[in-house]
Structures are given as C-alpha cells and as structure tokens.
Symmetry: C2
Subunit: 244 residues, 2 copies
DNA sequence: CGCGGATTTGAACTGAATCAATCGACGTGG
DNA sequence: CCACGTCGATTGATTCAGTTCAAATCCGCG
C-alpha cells in the first residue's frame, strides 16, 4: 500500500531503499511529498557518463544503487579518481554553474534525480535539509583529505591494502557484500583494475602485482578477478598503514 | 571612531582587516555585534600548534593574517599537508567532536577565535551564515580534489610548478606579495622547503632540485631562499600542467 | 568454441628517494 | 669583529620502487 502525493502520483519515497540513510532523511513527510513530486528515476549503465567536466549542472541526484566515480582528467589523458560514491550518497555540486569533475557510473547505477532549480529552492527553504547536506560535504572533505595522505605518502602496497580495506569495511553499505563466509568478508569489487589504479595514483600493472602479493601472503583470496575474500582482516589493516 | 557593542566593549569587527571577505561578511550589523562579543584575538607564532589531531575541538577561528597548514601524520612519521589556509579563511571542523588533522601555524598567524558552543548556536540561528560556511567548505573540497590529481598523477616538476603558480596567483590575497616589479610577480614563500615537500608528496631534495630547474629555465628568480619572482608566468603555467 | 577486452606476468628502464656532504644565512658569544 | 654552531637549503652519487614496454593468460560472452 503506497501513499499518494498531492498531485495523485505514487509516493515512491516511502518505499525507497535508501529512504532513511539519504539526505532525504532530514525531511518531514510533507517535505518528502514535495521532493517526491520533482524526483525522477534514472538508470545509468556501467561506463556511461552521468555528468561531464565543465558541463552545466542541471540536476542533483541521490545514488539509490551502484557506484559512481568522480574523475579529473589532464589534457594528455592522465586521470585521477577524486571521489568514489555509493548509495545512499548525494551526487552534485551545489552553488556552482559547472561541474568541477567528470562523473561516470562505475557499475550499473540507479539514481533519484532532482532538477537543479527546484532542489535549490527546497534547500534554501529547509535549513535542516541544507545542514544535512553540509554535514555530508564535511564528511566528503575528510575522506578526500585521508586520500591525499594515501596519494602523497603511502607505498603501492599500502595503497592497494588501504583500498581493499576501505571496500571491505563499506561493502555491507555498498551492497556488494556476499553472505559472509567463515570468518572473512567477501565482496564484489565495484571497480576494474584500471579504475583502482586511477583511484590510487598507480598503474594497472602495479595494482595487479600488489593484489598478487596480498594473495600469496594469505591475506586475501580471489575467486574471480573481481570477487574478493579477505581472510585476514588484521593483516590487511596492518598492510594498509605499514605497521607490520 | 569605533562602534560600541551592547555590553560596552569596543566593536573590533568594524575595523577588522578581513571584515568583508571572511564568513562574518554574511552577518548583519546586529549579528556582528553578537559575534564580536564572543570573539577573542589569538596570536600564534610560526611553527606553533593551533590544534592537535584527535584533540577535542573547543573553538573555531577566522584567520586574520598568516598561513596555517593542516597536516595528517602517520605512525612512522610520514606526513602530508592536506590543506593550506590563508586569511580570510575559516578554521575548524563543524559538527565533529575531535579534529581530524593537525593544525599548525606555517607563518606567524593572527586568529579571531570563537568558542565552539556560542559559534554553533549562531550557526544554527542564522541560516545565511551556515550557507556561507557551506559554500566555503564546497570550495575547500574542490581544492582538495584538484590537489588529489596533483598528488596522484603529476610529476615532481609539475608539482613544484603548480605549487608556485598557486602561490603566485593567490599572493595578493595571502598578503605575501611584494610590490610587483617589472612584468613579473614577486612574493615571499609562506612555507619552508620541508613544508612544500609535505604539501606535494615529495622530499625536500626533490623540491630543491625542481626549483633549481625552474631557475635555470629562466622561469623564476630567487632573491633569497624564500623570496621568489616569477619572470615567466606563462612558462610556469605550462610547466604546471606539462603542456610544454 | 572462439573472440576480445581485462588481467597477469616478465624484463628493462627511470624518476624520485635515499644517503652523504657541503653551503649559506643568521644569531651568539668570545 | 670574527669564529662557531645551528638550521635550512643545495648539490652530488647511488639505489630502488614503480613505470614502461611487451607477452602471455584468463575470463566473460556471443
């Protein structure tokens, strides 16, 4: 039994998978009806572009399912992933005309899209909503700074271990976790080797070699190239900060 | 002739050097009086700690003059500067109990300090004020992501050129600019070689060598180790993104 | 079953780190 | 006024982690 919004449309939000974890969680029932009225679903296949760098921003979105990579690209083709977002993250740069980066679906993605104008109006009318987005932004900034330490100062093996540890830790939220076998965590990697390399500031070859080392060290197992089991989480954590 | 606040104190804000550029710019005269009442000046000498990592946050501040570095440090001593802030930037991490990084004065610094509680109350009562801080945070996030591209994908010479270009561009705002001689820009470096290395993810030796190369290429001149003149700004920009 | 992109593996190379002096500016005290 | 010590910066020689170039090999999929 679904609620109806004022204009008679089905109230999708009430059955939304990320209803309580997304920014919308800061909204009341009435406000939710308002946002429901302007929201549209959009499915993006893995590898497709969501927003180009320098493209005019016309919408914002919640990630309902899947993974999105935010990438910076240099004139000569070198690229760096500067943000990785999963459900229920918010996607978009408020208060700016053009996108400062390239947003692409890393896996198949389901978005809940809001037109820019209406969303910004809602934002200015609901201080609690803006505060929630502000807090999310601060968390993203903290994450970006953690990643700066990784990019600037960690070795290749620490980088790869840190990445796998991060995915393992977040896999239940990301929705890529398999039923936890035995003691370890198992999950499907949301990124290709090439994406991992672009996220860590390495080459694919180095990523592959370092994953190989973790495998021979008995810290992880690979069932397929993108199916990982962490068999020694403590060992992985140690490898991530080189305390071993 | 200075204004008096309600409690009779001198209204310092009205003569503040960063009055119109700092977050306080979002406040009305009344609100300014309120914040003036809780603000205190604090002078920090170069090299002194403003806030330790994991230390409980008890205050926020505006940087009135000087440069502050935000640093992440690993257990084995490796460190990475994850943010560099200048007047009139805002200093502090709202909505969090403990500081996610170490904040240290890079040069002598003058701060305008607000106690946490009062500041947060003001923040929640004045939506415009919170929005202003939100916008500043988004800009910091953009800057952090630009730096991630630098850390992950640029070469040592590109990193050093990018850094000098950034300082040259911002030197008028930072207050380290000398009267512009001839065509070029001259300024005082707000960081030591060691700090520059920690900001770029390099060693001091590499930083020194790359600055040397820019000097022999006729792009910059060094009057003293920290006194720089950019004689070929286009050349510097080209070296920063390797389009040359 | 075979094709094509993704991944792994190997060998050689190189950019930046490391190790090691030396230099220079500045403040202190003889 | 100059020798001395300190700290930051430069310069040089060597090493090594990670890249580059070049083949295999592995899957996923029609």
């Amino acid at each position: 039994m679904q609620m109806m919004s004022l204009n008679g449309e089905v109230m999708r939000c009430s059955s939304c998978a990320i209803r309580h974890r997304a920014v919308c969680g800061a909204l009341s029932e009435d406000e939710l009806a308002a946002i429901n009225a302007i929201a549209r679903q959009r499915i993006v296949k893995a590898g497709e572009t969501i927003l180009n760098a320098d493209e005019e921003i016309t919408f914002f979105a919640n990630i309902v399912a899947g993974s999105v990579k935010l990438t910076k690209i240099m004139a000569d083709g070198r690229q760096q992933i500067v943000g990785l977002q999963f459900a229920p993250d918010f996607l978009g740069r408020a208060f700016r005309e053009r996108s400062p980066y390239f947003a692409e679906a890393a896996t198949d993605v389901e978005l809940c899209v809001f037109p820019k104008k209406e969303f910004e109006r809602l934002l200015s009318e609901k201080p609690g909503f803006e505060m929630r987005l502000f807090q999310d932004t601060l968390n993203e900034l903290d994450a970006a700074r953690d990643w700066m330490l990784l990019l600037g100062r960690k070795t290749a093996s620490e980088k790869v271990a840190s990445f796998l540890e991060m995915i393992a830790r977040r896999s239940p939220m990301i929705g890529c976790a398999h039923t936890a076998e035995q003691a370890g965590v198992s999950f499907h990697l949301p990124l290709t080797r090439s994406d991992i390399a672009d996220y860590l500031g390495l080459t694919i070859e180095t990523v592959s070699r370092q994953i190989g080392k973790l495998k021979s060290a008995g810290i992880v197992e690979l069932h397929a190239t993108r199916e990982v089991s962490v068999t020694d989480m403590d060992g992985l954590r140690a490898a991530a900060s080189s305390e071993a």
